[in-house]
């Protein structure tokens, strides 16, 4: 590296096979080393927010102050056959920088240089070899998507590229093209004889239609890829703002509650208004209640007086006869005295009664009944008051959330969420169109082949035609052979990746209920427990373990050996998981490069794997803008 990031001057890492541990505290350049490699391969790299870093900001500050206007990074790659490729990418403020690549001592032109590097490490594949433990989002689309239909095509293609499947797929494409070429020659040859001219013209017509259909198909695939890019971009925004997204969701839920509450409150207000219209009845009933009660007492007294008057009449009749009016018996003096006293009593009561009959007035008042409107109105009032209190509470909660969201780009998050959903829907629709288009093309191809077959059968089998037919058959057979082999090979390979990922996972996990991993057709991974049960959720640490298991499995099955570089891989792991990952690292690839800070691994951790460590290095702080790569010294 020359004046790259925090690495002032020229600093190099000389690496062989084995496990290297590079110690560096925060800000000392661990991620810069990974970025340096990305710079060479891709001519760019992203910051933690996914934004491409401006090269002007990469030039080392002290070098810039000394007048330097360029930086560069060089890599020497040695492949399985021992062939060396040297690549150096330079940035120059004047714009004169560029890429230089020589392979096996021979300089390559620009196009060859870029293709050579791409062949070593394609951008989509890079994540499996340059592992950033703090950027798990890059792996989440692998680890979360259960449905192949929503799995990123780019991710699936990149995994299959590591596994070598493109060789078989390209062979199929190549042999189909060669087969078609021979069929074209057969058609032309048959046309010369005139026997099959009409059939030949039909073949040409179909070829034209297929060519057009393939153009349309390419257009659809372009649309699909464009929508997929929108999905990926939206997913990046959502994942980076996961916490804010959660707050936005809470806010939206509270908003819904608030709207419901407001609506209910309005209903209660209307109900109360309705009841208030009838409360006059209750008010009147309440007002007349004392008079009614008094009248009821009067009615009772009146009835008592009426009974007494009847008694008085009886007594007077008895006193007049000095004999009982009922039984006719003579009354004694004592009885007469008692009866006279009783009669006096009754007459006194009559005087008090005054003879007034209150029953009519009472009957009138009894018609004024309580409807209960006031009680109901009061009840609605209480509910309105409750709703007001709840509303205040909701608004306070929403205010708190607004503060927490702070400067989070909530509009961007909403837009990203909508875009994500919309684009996924579009992709689904486009995929269907692609399927239909492919089916239509296949049908036309089938018809074309049938026609060619017919032409072939109807042609004279002279020497030239016979040879062409044999070559055509051979090309077609080779295409079909590779297609057959690809299907079986892909399934076997996926099964092998599943077994290896599971095997590694069981070595890394600490949960005894984790029994393995299962891989779907999109290379998404599920954690399996007892009774084949799938664990529906995983913590961030567990996700990291699963991601490492997949990376380990892909490395085991890749057609090309590649080093694995891991930047801060232990941040989310507890001590036990960390120990297990460390113990496994030496087996992950032939060359493993571990960049860690002191809080991630301690002396005891590294002591346990010391026999496997090739070398320990450290990123030594010179000042805030300079780091030097040095041999590691404990307590240094």
């Amino acid at each position: 590296m020359e004046d790259f990031g925090i690495f002032y001057g020229s600093q190099a890492l000389d690496l062989d096979a084995g496990l290297y541990v590079v110690h560096g505290e925060n800000g000392r350049g661990k991620t810069t080393i990974i970025n340096a490699i990305k710079w060479v391969f891709f001519g760019r790299f992203e910051d933690r927010q996914g934004r491409t870093v401006d090269p002007k900001g990469i030039l080392n500050r002290d070098a810039k102050r000394e007048g330097s206007t360029k930086f560069s990074v060089g890599l020497t790659l040695t492949d399985d056959d021992g062939v060396k490729t040297i690549a150096r990418r330079t940035w120059e403020a004047s714009g004169d920088g560029g890429l230089y690549v020589e392979r096996d001592g021979k300089p390559l032109n620009q196009a060859e240089a870029e293709i050579t590097l791409q062949n070593y490490l394609e951008k989509n594949v890079a994540r499996f070899f340059l592992f950033d433990g703090e950027q798990l989002r890059e792996y989440e689309e692998l680890l979360f998507e259960e449905d192949e239909a929503t799995q990123s095509e780019a991710v699936r293609r990149s995994i299959e590229q590591i596994l070598g499947l493109p060789v078989l797929e390209q062979a199929i494409t190549d042999f189909r093209a060669v087969d078609k070429d021979f069929e074209g020659k057969i058609t032309k040859l048959a046309r010369r004889t005139g026997k099959t001219e009409k059939l030949s013209r039909m073949v040409e017509q179909l070829e034209t239609e297929v060519a057009e259909a393939r153009k349309d198909l390419k257009g659809l695939e372009g649309l699909r890829d464009a929508e997929q890019e929108k999905v990926d971009q939206a997913a990046t925004v959502l994942q980076e703002n996961e916490a804010a997204q959660e707050l936005v969701n809470q806010m939206e839920a509270l908003q819904v509650q608030l709207e419901t509450l407001t609506s209910q409150r309005e209903e209660r207000v209307a109900d109360r208004k309705r009841e208030l219209a009838d409360t006059w009845e209750d008010a009147l009933a309440i007002a007349v209640a004392p008079r009614r009660e008094a009248l009821e007492a009067e009615v009772e007294a009146h009835e008592v007086a009426a009974r007494a008057a009847y008694d008085a009449e009886q007594i007077e009749r008895s006193l007049a006869k000095i004999a009982c009016d009922l039984c006719g018996q003579d009354l004694g003096d004592e009885v007469v005295a008692r009866l006279r006293a009783r009669l006096d009593q009754i007459e006194l009561g009559e005087a008090e009664d005054g003879g007034h009959d209150p029953r009519q007035e009472l009957a009138a008042l009894l018609r004024i009944t309580r409807s209960g409107a006031i009680s109901r109105a009061i009840a609605f009032d209480e509910r309105i008051s409750e709703a007001n209190t709840k509303r205040v509470g909701l608004e306070q909660d929403m205010e708190k959330i607004r503060d927490e969201i702070g400067r989070a780009p909530t509009d961007d998050i909403r837009v990203a969420g909508d875009q994500h959903a919309k684009s996924l829907e579009q992709i689904g629709a486009i995929k269907k169109q692609i399927e239909d288009a492919e089916a239509a093309i296949n049908e036309k191809e089938r018809k074309r082949r049938d026609l060619v077959q017919e032409i072939s059968s109807n042609s004279d089998d002279d020497g030239e035609m016979k040879a062409l037919k044999e070559r055509d058959k051979l090309a077609a057979d080779l295409a079909d052979l590779f297609a057959e082999a690809r299907a079986g090979f892909r399934d076997n390979l996926r099964g092998q990746v599943e077994r290896d990922a599971s095997d590694i996972f069981l070595r890394l996990t600490t949960d005894p209920n984790h029994l393995g991993l299962r891989i779907n057709t999109g290379y998404g991974l599920e954690t399996i427990g007892p009774n084949d049960e799938v664990f529906p959720t995983r913590s961030a640490g567990q996700e990291q373990i699963v991601a490492l298991s997949l990376i380990g499995a892909l490395n085991r099955n890749a057609t090309r050996q590649a080093p694995v570089m891991m930047d801060t891989p232990f941040g989310r792991l507890d001590k036990r998981h960390r120990a297990k990952v460390l113990a496994f690292l030496g087996e992950m690839a032939d060359q493993v490069f571990l960049l860690v800070h002191s809080a991630e691994v301690d002396e005891a951790d590294l002591k346990a794997i010391a026999p496997h460590i090739k070398e320990e290095l450290s990123l030594k702080r010179i000042d805030s803008f300079r780091t030097e790569i040095r041999r590691f010294e404990a307590n240094g």
């Binding site: 078989l168 062979a171 044999e470 070559r471 090309a475 080779l478």
Partner: protein
């Protein structure tokens, strides 16, 4: 499975399919076209590779 052994497995799979379903395809031709495809696996422009395969088939036929 690594590098060359991954290729070996691929070739084994091809040979098995050949023996089972395409016995008329010459074994040595299959090996040769597979080698060609491996060498050209990173080529984006397929024309030259297809031309080589075509010539190989023609030459085999002539032999």
């Amino acid at each position: 499975m690594r590098g060359s052994s991954a290729s070996e497995k691929m070739l084994e799979a091809l040979m098995a399919v050949r023996a089972d379903k395409f016995p008329s395809v010459p074994e040595d031709l299959l090996v040769r076209v597979f080698e060609l495809e491996q060498e050209a696996q990173y080529e984006t422009e397929r024309g030259p590779t297809q031309a080589m395969l075509r010539d190989l088939i023609v030459d085999w036929g002539d032999d």
